[in-house]
């Protein structure tokens, strides 16, 4: 397994948010992390990246235990994060956002620009002046510039115009086809399910269901994802 998350628990301050999450991502696999709002998806991602380190359980990346490793070490071991809210550096240009994250590997500026030609057109523009969709492309491009083994996308297309969503999903499908391992959170099941090999559903800070996209029947969706 590339990523192996076992029974992690995590808290925000005094309140516990995760009560035992298990999930795994194999090499080249795309896994959807699902659940209603507030069920612990973002907390799980933050725990994996050690931005909010788990207080119990274990996270292993390609066999390496991430316990106690600062978030920059986790990133260097191969996790590329596209965070919720995108969090591009507003005071840097598009080019600088990508360059600041760059680490040696097959992902270069040229390759990111080929994936998102819009970024190439806007390379000298300040990130704060980009549209939401362009910022998301930049956040993905920035994570790719770190040459990750696993790309984690938290709310991949939240708040974006439908036509931009298509571009983002097309890029995600392309990345998967190229063999990149992906862990993705999104609410658009019609787009998410065809991309995902497997799904993990969280409820109240616990992983309560795992299976392939095909196994995620309307019944299961109703039970765990319906509003």
């Amino acid at each position: 397994m590339l990523l192996d998350v076992s029974k992690i628990e995590a808290s925000y301050g005094a309140s516990q948010a995760l009560f035992g999450v298990d999930l795994a991502v194999a090499e080249g696999e795309a896994v959807a992390l699902m659940g209603r709002n507030g069920m612990g998806k973002t907390t799980t991602i933050r725990a994996i990246c050690n931005l909010n380190p788990p207080r119990a359980g274990s996270v292993r990346l390609a066999g390496t235990d991430l316990k106690g490793k600062p978030s920059h070490r986790v990133a260097k071991l191969g996790i590329g994060l596209v965070p919720e809210g995108r969090r591009c550096f507003p005071n840097l240009t598009v080019h600088e956002n990508l360059e600041a994250a760059a680490r040696p590997g097959s992902w270069t500026l040229e390759r990111v620009n080929a994936l998102f030609p819009r970024l190439a057109e806007r390379h000298a523009q300040m990130a704060r002046s980009l549209s939401g969709g362009e910022q998301q492309m930049l956040a993905i491009g920035r994570a790719l510039m770190t040459n990750p083994r696993l790309l984690i996308l938290d709310e991949a297309t939240e708040g974006l115009a439908p036509v931009i969503r298509q571009d983002i999903w097309a890029a995600i499908r392309k990345l998967k086809a190229e063999g990149l391992s992906i862990l993705v959170v999104d609410k658009t099941l019609s787009e998410l399910l065809p991309v995902a090999d497997r799904c993990v559903i969280l409820e109240n800070g616990k992983s309560v269901w795992q299976g392939t996209s095909a196994e995620l029947t309307a019944d299961v969706q109703d039970r765990y994802l319906g509003v």
Binding site: P70, A75, F89, P90, N91, E99, A100, A101, T146
Partner: protein
């Protein structure tokens, strides 16, 4: 007042401005990137001056002294960052002020302990001795012109470092989102140590260069520190460009004010009183300027984008 005198004072103002820029650049970088108020920045200026004076006295070479001032100030900066400062980033400004004020006392007493209470003197290197003729006939010391040139070089170097290099991009990225730059694999702690040492080295350089104009003594950094704070508040906290402009503005306004205000006041007061009132008013001038600028632009001339 002659043209020559005005030009000479203008150059003096620029030289003061350049020196303030060297101090303010580090101060504003450290505040902008790490959110830290470092009162001990003046101590690093003093460390640079003492290192230069001591090494120059021991080796006979001002230039070796200059290298030593950069190295010692950067090392002192890195050491206090590792031992003290990095525990303060997540604390309130009051804690930062208290802890860095303690550092001032430690540096001052430590220096007095090693070098004693008597000032050291640093000679201008032979290469930069002498004067050049200014238009209008006055002579102006080469050394002061060299300080202005050194400041211009540092400003250019910082512009390239912060604006064009990957390190600079990461520093600016850390300024707007510390957690995110860490999540992309940049070791923010090491980055902070580097920024702090860089700021310290610039302060040390300023101290060393001024050391050849004034005496090198304990407590020499604090008056400059206050002016440097005025500079970064005027320029916009976190902005190197603002620090440069603010420093030149403060340097020139302060110097020219001391020259012109007493003369201006002779229009209203008898000469003896005009001199006294003028001198007093001149020393307030930069603070009045700061108040006026803040009234119009509350975040300074070039506020950093993230603030």
């Amino acid at each position: 007042m002659t043209f020559a005198l005005a030009l000479e004072q203008l150059l003096n103002g620029l030289q003061l401005g350049v020196m303030l820029f060297l101090m303010a650049a580090g101060l504003t970088l450290i505040f902008g990137v790490m959110g830290l108020i470092n009162l001990a920045h003046g101590s690093l200026y003093m460390v640079g001056a003492f290192a230069c004076a001591a090494v120059a006295a021991a080796t006979g070479s001002f230039w070796l002294g200059l290298v030593a001032s950069l190295a010692c100030a950067a090392a002192a900066g890195a050491i206090i960052e590792l031992l003290v400062i990095r525990r303060l980033y997540d604390r309130e400004h009051l804690d930062q002020v208290l802890a860095t004020f303690a550092l001032i006392l430690i540096f001052s007493e430590g220096t007095r302990w090693v070098f004693g209470s008597f000032p050291l003197y640093l000679d201008i290197p032979p290469l930069l001795q002498g004067a050049v003729a200014l238009p209008g006939g006055a002579q102006y010391p080469v050394y002061r012109l060299a300080i202005i040139a050194a400041g211009a070089l540092v400003a250019l170097g910082l512009y390239v470092l912060i604006g064009k290099t990957r390190l600079g991009m990461r520093i600016r990225a850390g300024e707007s989102d510390r957690e995110m730059i860490g999540a992309l694999g940049v070791d923010i702690r090491t980055l902070y140590t580097v920024v702090f040492a860089l700021g310290a080295a610039l302060a040390g350089l300023a101290g060393a260069m001024v050391g050849a104009l004034q005496s090198v003594q304990v407590g020499m950094g604090e008056p400059v520190l206050i002016l440097a704070f005025v500079v970064i508040v005027i320029g916009g906290i976190g902005s190197i460009k603002g620090a440069l402009l603010g420093a030149l503005l403060v340097g020139v306004v302060d110097t020219m004010g001391r020259l012109l205000l007493p003369q201006l006041l002779t229009l209203f007061f008898p000469p003896s009183q005009a001199g006294m009132i003028g001198a007093a008013a001149a020393s307030m001038l930069i603070y009045v300027m700061m108040a006026l600028i803040l009234a119009v632009k509350p975040r300074g001339l070039f506020p950093a984008a993230h603030a």
